[in-house]
């Protein structure tokens, strides 16, 4: 209730923009291939849900690609982070390097992935998504495993705790919030990887191809409705990650609400 109240100005703006667009398009009689009215986008979504541009089947394929890439990228990111954290001295070399390599526009690999795994295969999109996901997961988890309070390490040392015990009871719980921060970024990135991979070519029944195909046919109403679905999918995946976070680390300041999400 309180959240609703706080967001009243935002909701009003949304209503004003949608209403204003609708009125403007109707009053000025703007053609749909120039700018579609919000109501036209909604109609286009319903009309093309299962036939025509088949947005729903396309969304299923794209989501599969994104989730597959998310799973693969997260798994490799975790493995590499744990491997590097075994060598504490290498961290100061590996982290800046990984951050710099992360500055490469990884989507440039989309054409190679398309050629390697087949332009029509979902695996080519998963590969792009996975390489986008890998870096934030790896970098965040590595930070979490190594940025441990030095007093906590001294405490474990005072107990004569083995390295395995330190990892299990201190480093891994410490890395959990970092991992979930990475995961939240990664959900969006996995969808970007899948969609941009599709922009560089792919099956017709994918959201990326629907966006490109409808736009080149000047069916902007359908383009917008497909983009709406992409946006909703992104928010859905993000909210899922937030839910996981709330369940796993209820004690953390970011979940307790001391800082904005």
């Amino acid at each position: 209730m309180k959240a609703l109240q706080r967001n009243i100005p935002a909701l009003l703006i949304l209503a004003a923009i949608l209403g204003g667009l609708e009125l403007f398009v109707r009053a000025a009689d703007v053609k749909s291939f120039i700018f579609p009215a919000p109501s036209a986008v909604w109609t286009a979504l319903l009309d093309n849900w299962n036939e025509g541009y088949r947005i729903f089947p396309a969304a299923k394929v794209t989501l599969t690609e994104a989730l597959g890439g998310l799973a693969m990228g997260t798994a490799t990111g975790l493995v590499v982070a744990f491997a590097v954290s075994r060598f504490p001295r290498s961290r100061d070399t590996v982290l800046p390097l990984a951050v710099a390599i992360n500055a490469i526009p990884i989507v440039a690999f989309a054409p190679i992935a398309n050629n390697w795994f087949g332009i029509l295969s979902p695996y080519s999109k998963m590969a792009v998504a996975a390489s986008l996901v890998f870096f934030p997961i790896m970098i965040n988890v590595l930070r979490g495993l190594t940025d441990v309070d030095s007093s906590a390490l001294e405490l474990m040392r005072s107990y004569g705790a083995s390295p395995t015990a330190v990892t299990r009871r201190l480093r891994i719980p410490n890395a959990l919030p970092y991992f979930l921060t990475g995961l939240k970024v990664a959900t969006t990135l996995s969808l970007i990887g899948a969609v941009v991979g599709e922009y560089f070519g792919g099956l017709t029944d994918t959201l990326g191809r629907v966006v490109v195909g409808a736009a080149s046919a000047l069916r902007f109403d359908i383009t917008w409705s497909a983009i709406l679905v992409v946006a909703l999918a992104g928010m859905g995946m993000y909210l899922l990650a937030v839910t996981v976070e709330r369940v796993l680390i209820p004690w953390h300041p970011s979940v307790r609400g001391d800082q904005p999400a």
């Binding site: 390097l97 970007i192 941009v196 922009y199």
Partner: protein
């Protein structure tokens, strides 16, 4: 607590060395993989090496020898052309860089201006910030083809894409940064009866700079991604995006062209990132800073 007041020159040197070592390592792994599982190597028509394994990823089509890619960049871009592939790609990189730099600059300035506005007007903030935050959870790059087809296949469309990809992260980071000063610092300014403008210039802006640079490092890459997606799938006739798209279609005949384009794109991304890091080092010199980017 990885805070240092001055970064020793040695650290920078070590980073450069580690980066070079990384590049060499990639080349070594690349060629080792080919020796292990690639196609046989011929010198003057004579087979000198036959790899023990065969993996489809390591064939000469899917993973050309690094020297083949290098030699190809020196050869003409198409048979009979005067320009070499390398020269052509650098030209396209400059073209793309111009677009992404423009988008980076406009997006950055817009983001800073908007965040400043939000910090001063609570109602505007509550009306718009939820959307800026939500933009981080959705793949806004999906809008790229729409913009290309809507505003035409030209440079300004690509700049628009790059701009909005930069705009959102800068706004959010800047808003956090402008809010980051110690409340006691703001109270101190209040005790001086300082004007809003003075508070902004003396306290809020300086405090926001580290946040701003964190965002700029992200948007350096984002602006290039935006430009590439606008150029390639968006149907431009110039730029790295177009080169990637075009050479992807020639992959079966000459995969080296696509690989060379990818390397140039990767290099451009890292160069842009390093330029922002350099600017950050200079602007924030003397301040305590995190030990890594």
């Amino acid at each position: 607590m990885t805070v240092q007041t001055a970064r020793p020159r040695r650290t920078i040197l070590r980073r450069i060395v580690s980066f070079l070592v990384f590049i060499v390592a990639v080349l070594v792994v690349w060629e080792a993989f080919k020796l292990l599982a690639g196609d046989p190597i011929f010198v003057d028509g004579e087979k000198i090496w036959d790899p023990p394994l065969t993996v489809w990823l390591a064939t000469d089509v899917n993973l050309p020898h690094t020297w083949v890619i290098w030699n190809r960049t020196l050869a003409p871009v198409t048979s009979g052309a005067k320009e070499s592939l390398g020269g052509y790609l650098i030209g396209q990189a400059v073209f793309t860089m111009r677009e992404s730099l423009t988008g980076f600059a406009i997006g950055g300035v817009l983001g800073i201006a908007l965040a400043t506005l939000f910090v001063h007007f609570r109602l505007i903030e509550r009306a718009f910030v939820p959307y800026v935050v939500a933009s981080q959870t959705i793949p806004i790059i999906a809008l790229a083809p729409l913009i290309m087809f809507f505003t035409g296949h030209n440079v300004s469309s690509v700049i628009i894409i790059a701009t909005y990809l930069c705009f959102f992260p800068v706004t959010i980071a800047m808003l956090r940064g402008l809010r980051s000063p110690d409340p006691r610092a703001l109270e101190l300014m209040r005790s001086y009866a300082a004007s809003r403008r003075a508070v902004l210039w003396k306290v809020r802006f300086p405090a926001s700079l580290p946040y701003l640079f964190t965002a700029l490092k992200i948007t350096a890459t984002a602006s290039i991604v935006g430009a590439i997606v606008g150029e390639g799938p968006g149907g431009m006739q110039e730029g790295l995006g177009r080169a990637l798209m075009f050479f992807s279609q020639q992959y079966a005949i000459s995969p080296e062209k696509l690989w060379a384009s990818i390397f140039v794109t990767a290099g451009l991304g890292i160069l842009f990132y390093l330029a922002v890091v350099g600017a950050e080092q200079w602007v924030l010199r003397g301040r305590p800073q995190a030990a890594f980017g």
